[in-house]
Structure formats: C-alpha cells, structure tokens
Amino acid sequence: MAAAALKALVPPILHSSAHDSEPKANSQTNGQQQPQSSSPPPSNNAESVQYDRAQEWKPPQPSPVSLSEIAKTTDFGHSSQLRPDDFTLLKTLGTGTFARVWLAKLAHAEPAEEERVYALKVLRKVDVIRLKQVEHVRNERNVLAKVAGHPFITTMVASFQDYDSLYMLLDYCPGGEVFSYLRRARRFNEPTSQFYAAEICLILEFLHEHEGIAYRDLKPENILIDADGHLKLVDFGFAKKIDSRETYTLCGTPEYLAPEVIRNTGHGTAVDWWAFGILIYEFLVGQPPFWDQNPMRIYEQIVEGNIRFPSAMTPDARSLISGLCTVDVSKRLGNISGGAATVKFHPWFRNIDWDALYHRKSKGPIIPHLRGPADTRNFDDYEPEAKNRPAYSDELRNRYDEAFKDF
C-alpha cells in the first residue's frame, strides 16, 4: 500500500531515473523532461561502464531537464497516505539542531522498489516550535516542492507528518558532503574548485532568477556529491521566496553570513552571492576568510569586509571572490545588472562550458567510491538520538498544528 501511494506521488522521472540507465526511458513522462537541446546523450557513458564498473553498481543517469520545464514541476501534494512505519530506518546520515536525516527504505516495497533507498528527514515538532523555526520549516517544504527536478538540487519525493514529527522524503545522494572531501583534502585545486563553484552558480541562477528564492545557508556541509561526482544542494531550511521585498530574519552559518544580515538592514538573494564568494575561498584555501574563536569578532570582520588572500591565489580567483564578497550590495557581483550571467562570464570560469555542465555531460572531479545504491561509507557516524526528549503535547498541538497542515 505504501509503495503504491508513493508511486502515485512521485513524478515519473524519479521512478524511471532510479532504475533505468537509459536516458530515453524518460521520454514517456508526458514530455516534461525533454532535454533543452536535441544534442545526443554524452558519448562516454558506455565506455566508462565497460572499463570501470563491471562489478559495481551503475549510478543512475538522470536525464537532462530544462529550466523552464522544472519551473512547471510544482505539483507536489502533501501526503497523508504515507506514514513513518512505511519506512525502515537504516542509518543516520546527518543531524541538525531540530532534525535528523535517515537513510531509509520502504518497509513493504514492491519488488521493483525493494532496493530503492531514500533520505528521510525527520523534524520533531516540539523542537521546531521551541527553536521558533515553524516558519522556516514551512518555507523549506514549500521551496523543496517547487524546485524538485533541478539537476543539482536534492529532489523531495514526498512530505508527510504524524502526531509529533514532520517528514520529508528525499532522494538519497550517496557521495556524502563536499565538506568531508574538502576537510580530508585540506583544500581543492583550482579546476576542482571551478567545477563545483560553477555548478553552485547554476543553482543560484535558477533559485534567484527563476524562482525568486534566496537559499541563505550556502556552505560545504550542505552540498552533497552524487554518484557521478555532480553536486546536490540539500537543506533548504532557510530558503525563502523573496518577492520584490527584502527580508530580515537573521539566519545562516556564522562564517558565511553577509554583512547586511548582521546589520539587519534587510537582505535578499544577494546574500547567496556573498556566501558563494566565501565558499570559493574556502574551497581554495581550506578555511573561510573571516574567522575568530569569538563569533562577534567574525561578524566585525565581515562588516568591514577586508579579505586577505594567500599569496598563491590567482588574480582571477581574487577578483571573483572580491567581486562577490563586496559589502555594498549595489556593487556585489551577481546582484548587479546581468545577475548570475556576470558571474558566469567572470574570467575565473573561462574554462567552463555552462551548457555541457548543466546537462551533466562529463563526470565530476571526485567520483565517490560506492558498493551499491545504499552505501553509506561517505557519511560520518552520528550519536544515537538522545532519550527522554520533551514530547509533543495536545496543548502544543492545539496551538501550533494548524501551521503544519500543509505538510
């Protein structure tokens, strides 16, 4: 029953892409997922299979999708049919202040679905309320539903709730966090940094210019690597649709906060371009430019906005980071006239073929080593959930559950 319910919810592409390596298999999906151009599929697929992965799991080959088609794919309903006990929880993939993400599979799956695993994000209502994150959680669910299908954004398959928790069922991305690879390597070389930065740039362009969404928590911890070495942006807890007006709630990660967020003068999508500059710096240097053990000193440095570059950083990289990390938002690269295109045209990205990148025509610089689709070796181990946590009560339920009704 659960599998059927799920199938009804999942757009066709998710089913087919998980199990068919033939991009063509998706063409039956009512025309929604047609590639933008009629260019042939990447020619190196067949070769790489022969050579490399004879005995290994073959990663799924998502079919190329076009921006405008994705923009239409907003028809995600909430799903009271699904219940937590439809799933078997296998391992914790990550924890946050009020959420825990599990590797999960359907407890009673149809044969075709048996091997399929998901990431199930569980948010406890009592913590969401205690930490005053109700609005953010609602934003997260709505934004994820809206952006599902972008090649570099994690896809939400369904969302549902029970008495005390909220659930978001997401595609599992087996490569783990860019954060882990970055810390292991200390820093990325320039081509690797360029590749990842370019994919992030495409994500920001899509979020800002097609959806009017500010992401607001860019950092290596929130970027996963998929089986092909491409990125998936996860954790849309702070993402917000910004219409023509600025927003004020402080959120993000200390080292990545933009000056206007700290000063509370109102912020918009430009905060993501600031954080993008910090991210590129951290890729290349191994740590973000503004740091102190006392967070207030970090914020003081951010508001001043003077970045020190290591001597070996190339002039192009410095120029890009300086342009992005400009305190004056009216001069910040990405926010000025031309938007994301001005970032894409920056000389540091001169080797990027943006169209090929969007259509995932080559693999990423790091290919995660995987034994199978449910391999979790790329994720760290986390402490088990604490016992004796406060429980959701009828009193809270009466006061707050209305806010969760769309989940």
Partner: protein, 452 residues
C-alpha cells in the same frame, strides 16, 4: 553537535579539540587518498583517453612534477613559518605542513612509501572535468597556512526569531523607552561605542536603542546574571558594580563547587557582556556572577533587531515611494525600485551650500529627504522653484551627462538621498533601455530629451 562558535564574550582555546581532529584526519586522509586516487585514475583512464599508454606517461610525469614542486616549496629558505606573526600558528598549521612534507623527520616513516598522499594536490587535476586541460596545481600548492587555528568541525547553522516589520502588519509596536538622565545616556553611549553592532547605527536608532535599555538591579554579590550553556536573550552594560566571568571547558555550568569552571575575566563599571545574544539565540559561552551589589542595563535581542529592522524598512519604503513618483523611472518594476534603494546614499548639506551647481556635469540624481532647497539660475537672484521633502531633482543625469541647467541651494540644513548614474546603471542597466520597455506609454508624458 558541537557549538564551536558559542564563545561569547570570551573565547576558549579549541586547540586540544583541533589537534585530535587533525590526527584523525591525518590517518583518515591517507586511507582515503589511496582509494580516491586509485578510483580516479581508473576513471580518468577510462573516460578521457584513447591512448592509455600515453595517458599513463603524462599522468606520472605530472605527478612527479607536482610532487617535486611541493617538495621544493617546503625547503629553506622558503620556510612558511618565517613570515608569520608569532602566536597564532597552532595545531592545524603545523600538522598541515607535515602532511605536505614527506621528508619531515616527524612524519611517520611509512609516508615515504606513499608519496602520492601529499595533501597539496588532493584530487589533483588529472581527473578534471576539462578533458583537454592538464593538471595545474595552482592555489592548492600553496603551503602557507593562515595564522589562526581554524576549527575544522562541521558548522552549525544559526537563526534568530522570525521578524516582520511593524509597518508591514499594522501592529503599533514602538520600542520600549526607559527614561534616563542625560549623563546616564552619555555613559551608555560610551560603553557601547566600541561594539561594532552599535557603531553603525544612525543617530535616531542609537537614541532608540539606548532608550530601550532597561535597568536591572543586582542587589547582592554572588548572583548569576548569565549561566553558561543557557539560552542567551539579553545583552548587558554594567552601570555600576563588578562581575566575574567563568568558563567551564565542558561548555556548560555543572553542579558542584567548581561547576562554573575557571575565572577568565572581570568586568566593572562601563563594561558590557553577552552581545552575541543580540544576534541570535546561541548558548551562553560563560557564566557571569556579581561580586558586589551592582546595577546593569539590559537589552533584549528582539527589541534591538526590531529597532534596526523597522528603521531600515521605513527608509526603504520611503525611497520606493519617492522613486515611484519620478516619471522618468515609471517603467521600473517594483523589485527594481526596491533594488535601487540599496544604492541610495544619504548625504547631508548645511544651509547655504549647493547640492547641484549650474554648468557642472550631471552625474547624480537626488531625492530630498528632509529640509528645503531652492533652484537658481546663474545671474538671476529669483528663486525659480522650492523643493521640500519627497521632491527630487537632477534625474536627467541618469540619462546623459549634460551640464546642469540650474543650481540647487540648500535653504535649510538638508538631507538628500543620492543615486549616481553609475550606481543606477550598475544595478539595473541603461535607463534608456529600461524606458524603451514601454515606450508608447511614456512617450506622451515624458520626453526627457526635450524637457531640458
């Protein structure tokens, strides 16, 4: 989850933690390196190259070159520690060098057997995305660490309460005002002047913030004002008295006589503590205890941030309102007007000074925010026009560089919002192009080329 950043107001050394983490990474790094290199080598071989033999030759050549250059970069006199300031360089920096320096005596002996483990070329460009490009380890070969001990753990996101501007939802919130004597205000102003959160405030907001500080008597010694590990909501300024600050390395107050941990500092009259609480709700990084009867001023985060937000919100809406009145800009979308508000710069002119001088090249557009200004033509003492709040002038400068046709003189002290042509163009592009969007709409009302 470790709240590594929750160190307010005094920091605790994280060196110990950092060192353990690095050792862990060191071990893990090697194992990982082998796996990844092998996997990528195979991949690169499979994917990109028709001639495996030539590729192998190139690959190992590149490898050798990059290893040699990393190695040479480590040799004296190019010692990376020579240029660094003393202090600062702790565990991370040192150990990072060890990874990059297989010849170092302190490096484990088996490192020589694994020369490709150099962290200086982590996933070296050989499996790069550009099939024609060759590995050029540029930035990643720089062994120079930055002079601090960065915490390499996962970072926790932070978030404050959801705030909606007062005027947006029609509730009549005004900041609380607790009256104070002028000398008290002066003392408070001085006490917070070193805090960057207050340094940027406009005069009006500074007054509101100081007014919102609430007196909090601490009648006895030994009273805990802040408890390490607790939620932080208030920022405090010491009006009089004396406080000791303790930090327990465990991150929170513990039971028992030594539960507060070590005394790390003392704060007296004119001092302040707990300012991180003005940003978001992070656990308190220290315990603060009175040593004598004292008096504090307290300010909570929501009040502080609402004052800032409401001021910014009102200012933006005011600018948008003014901009909406300018016929030349009527084809702007509302989000574009909103964007322009970021580029407006507030400038004050004293009475009698000229804001615009006739004959000068026009580069800026002005909106009068406060005061009165008058328009004069050269050689003519009659005032042609008077501008008051909300009026604008000089808008043709956004279109062309034509000289100003008249002068605008401040009659009183005035405050103007200035928008430069370059600022406008940078944000929204060429105004002429924008006007052309709905040419037939504007053609009747404004013909800027003839208006001058």
């Amino acid at each position: 989850m470790v709240f590594s950043f929750a160190l307010d107001p005094f920091s605790v050394s994280q060196t110990f933690k950092g060192r353990n983490m690095m050792m862990y990474l060191l071990v893990k790094n090697r194992v990982w390196g082998v796996i990844l290199e092998a996997a990528q080598f195979r991949f690169a071989l499979a994917d990109k190259h028709q001639d495996p033999l030539q590729f192998c030759a190139n690959f190992f050549n590149d490898r050798l070159a990059s290893e040699r250059s990393a190695h040479l970069a480590q040799q004296p006199p190019h010692s990376s520690s020579s240029g660094m300031s003393s202090g600062g360089i702790h565990s991370v920096a040192e150990e990072d060098e060890h990874i990059a320096s297989p010849t170092s005596a302190s490096f484990p002996s088996n490192a020589r057997a694994l020369p490709t483990m150099s962290s200086s070329s982590p996933f070296g460009g050989f499996a790069g995305f550009d099939p024609t490009g060759h590995a050029k380890n540029v930035a990643s070969d720089d062994p120079t660490p930055l002079p601090n001990n960065y915490n390499l753990n996962r970072r926790t996101s932070v978030s404050a309460e959801s705030l909606t501007p007062t005027s947006a939802n029609n509730d009549n919130w005004t900041p609380p005002n607790h009256p104070k004597a002028p000398e008290q205000i002066d003392r408070l102003r001085k006490a917070v002047s070193t805090n960057f959160l207050f340094a940027h405030l406009a005069e009006e907001q500074a007054t509101q913030v100081l007014g919102a500080l609430q007196e909090k008597p601490i009648p006895k010694p030994g009273m805990r004002v802040i408890t390490q590990g607790d939620v932080g909501d208030y920022f405090y300024v010491v009006e009089s008295g004396d406080f000791d600050i303790y930090v327990n390395p465990s991150g929170q107050l513990e039971p028992g006589p030594d539960g507060m941990g070590n005394k790390v500092a003392n704060v007296g009259t004119g001092g302040s503590f707990g300012e991180l609480a003005l940003m978001y709700n992070a656990p308190r990084a220290a315990t603060v205890v009175s040593t004598q009867p004292s008096t504090l001023w307290a300010l909570d985060r929501v009040t502080f941030r609402r004052i800032l937000m409401d001021a910014a919100f009102a200012r933006r809406r005011m600018y948008e309102g003014f901009l909406a009145e300018v016929p030349l800009l009527e084809s702007l979308e509302s989000y574009e007007r909103s964007k322009i508000a970021d580029a407006l710069e507030t400038i004050k002119y004293p009475a009698g000074s000229s804001v615009i001088s006739q004959g000068e090249k026009g580069e800026d557009f002005f909106i009068l925010e406060a005061g009165t200004a008058e328009v004069y033509k050269e050689g003519d003492p009659t005032c042609l026009k008077t501008y008051t709040k909300g009026d604008y002038f000089g808008e043709l400068a956004l279109l062309n560089d034509a000289p100003r046709a008249a002068s605008v003189i401040a009659k009183t002290d005035v405050k103007v919002a200035k928008l430069g042509k370059d600022g406008f163009t940078r944000l929204l592009g060429n105004l002429e192009g924008i006007m052309r969007r709905n040419d037939y709409n504007t053609a009747g009302t404004v013909d800027p080329l003839h208006k001058a």
